[in-house]
Symmetry: C4
Subunit: 195 residues, 4 copies
């Protein structure tokens, strides 16, 4: 599902047809697509980070309990929606409502992921080798997306066009959240997973 | 297959290009897309419920018997068709024929699923731990889609535009059908699966 | 791959926008799409039959030998091409060249499948429980597609518009080919697989 | 992911609608699509070769170490981008910038693959039966794409329209790179894999 949504991002970038076919005209044409390329890369990174988290959470579970099916499907719905909100933002960069709409869909996706993680990572669903420290780390990591997206949402009111760019830092922020409070107690296993 | 069809639903929602780029104009533009968003969510839920049922049925089988291959492929054909009927209904909400067409494709999909379930859930295909109560529950659940879609079809003659909205209740109705008659005899296992 | 190509077939059917929104106009509009629906169903059945055969062949192999990788990829290339040739034929039904083009791509796909099967179903790739009768049956079945597509190709010169319809019989013809010569010697296992 | 990107290549080829529907006009129309078909085949072969390499590398690993997740996702991003660069080149064959753009995306994809391979194929990630000769062969093979794409890039300055055609030789070149230096020392296992 994540793989399909992430690959569909590209089909929203349409092939341009410049009126004149000189090299210079082509370079201008491609430069005009930079917001589309940026949106593709941004959403690929954000959805990619969600994919990694999702994979990690389900790797901690013995099986998919029926009570998790719908929280999971609703999260997948938000992920499947991303190609639209990405295309909306990319085609209208620097316009306030599309930028806010994009950040809003990410806030929703982030909250749905937190909800799924809270429901999934508890007894009796867990594999026996999952430690409390692992769960705490996954929970801390899952805060990164809604917090970053909320910041982007607020920035979008004032600086549409640049407000969503900080989201490109997601993978690094996720690692920061994972390592937070590490200094206070030793968590060797969490370090191996979070690198 | 379900995952692909469910993700393709989004590419039928096209990015709007309002003539003026004010915030107000954008909000009106996005409000005009509400039928498309509603169609996306509705079909995601309905196809998602079919996906869950399909997964559950095949989890009860030892292997995919050759006699089940074509009943299964014909069901998948109806699922693969959903992005079209969803887009048709969403782009022409409140028009009678597209609404009826959508409900009709769901009736067909629901009947094909019942047919597959009746052929699949019987000896000698079943895993040894599948109880008669499990099978009865899955069969009752499978009635929810064609019944709900038939109601939507009838409603569509009188109130096109709202006729398909009851389908959003599908996951709840499925659980109701699963629990039906539970009071009469104890089925602890069915309760664990149907939650 | 087969699942993706088979699901992508639908996105080539575009949502119509009739000028008037009466029920009658809508019924005419949908009736005009019948060639597109027929093309979708036809290709779904043909690619579905190839998918079943592919699955069956690889189920007989111990592993995917490196010498089979490229014959397999070239077959997948022909399968991935089907959404285009289906859309070409469906949008221009009753025109000779699109009908011939469609039949031609199926002849090529059928020959590529025969080539893959001949290379794959031999020692030392086979699982130990695969009998010579199983292999002979799979080989006979694989003749159905290129023969049927060749007939459609010849018919297309004289009756474009109806020439490809016989392909809808593919699943039945495949079973006929599988059972051919069965009367002459007993093959109980082949019967169980080919039903 | 590779399978999805490779299948999406086809949806960038749009169904033509010639003004006159004679056989001759249709043949001209289809002949005009030859660059699009060539681009489809070319990218299918190149991405197919990357898929085979990716599959082979991950088959040598015990598990996907967290430190490999992002190098892998960034490579997948370049693969997911291919449908766009293919469509850009195919729709504007014989124009310099689109041809260079296509070759450039392949150089980037090739370098990202080398980076992933260098990070992945080392202790302690390897399965115990992976030999140093296997790793050396995979590394040599991975040089083929960036070298071929760089040649195409340089050719693109002088002969746009034909510059990317040599890439169709990729599978053969990969095998050449794999067998390079074989004469100097015996590598029976590598021969079995590289055939």
């Amino acid at each position: 599902m994540f793989a399909i949504a992430i690959t569909l991002l590209i089909i929203e970038i349409h092939v341009p047809h410049p009126e004149v076919s000189t090299d210079k005209e082509w370079l201008i044409t491609l430069a005009n697509l930079i917001p589309n390329f940026a949106g593709f890369i941004l959403s690929f990174i954000v959805v990619g980070a969600m994919w990694v988290a999702h994979h990690r959470v389900f790797g901690m579970l013995r099986r998919l309990d029926p009570t998790l099916v719908w929280p999971n499907l609703v999260l997948l719905m938000a992920v499947a929606f991303m190609p639209f909100s990405t295309a909306l933002m990319s085609s209208h960069s620097a316009e306030r409502v599309p930028e806010l709409f994009y950040a809003f869909t990410l806030i929703v996706a982030g909250l749905l992921q937190i909800r799924l993680i809270r429901r999934a990572l508890r007894e009796p669903f867990l594999k026996p080798d999952v430690s409390a420290a692992d769960i705490a780390m996954i929970r801390r990591r899952s805060l990164a997306l809604p917090i970053m997206a909320s910041i982007a949402f607020v920035l979008g009111f004032f600086w549409p066009g640049f407000s969503n760019l900080p989201l490109v830092l997601m993978p690094g922020v996720v690692v920061l959240f994972a390592r937070w409070r590490r200094g206070k107690r030793p968590e060797p296993d969490a370090g191996a997973v979070g690198g």
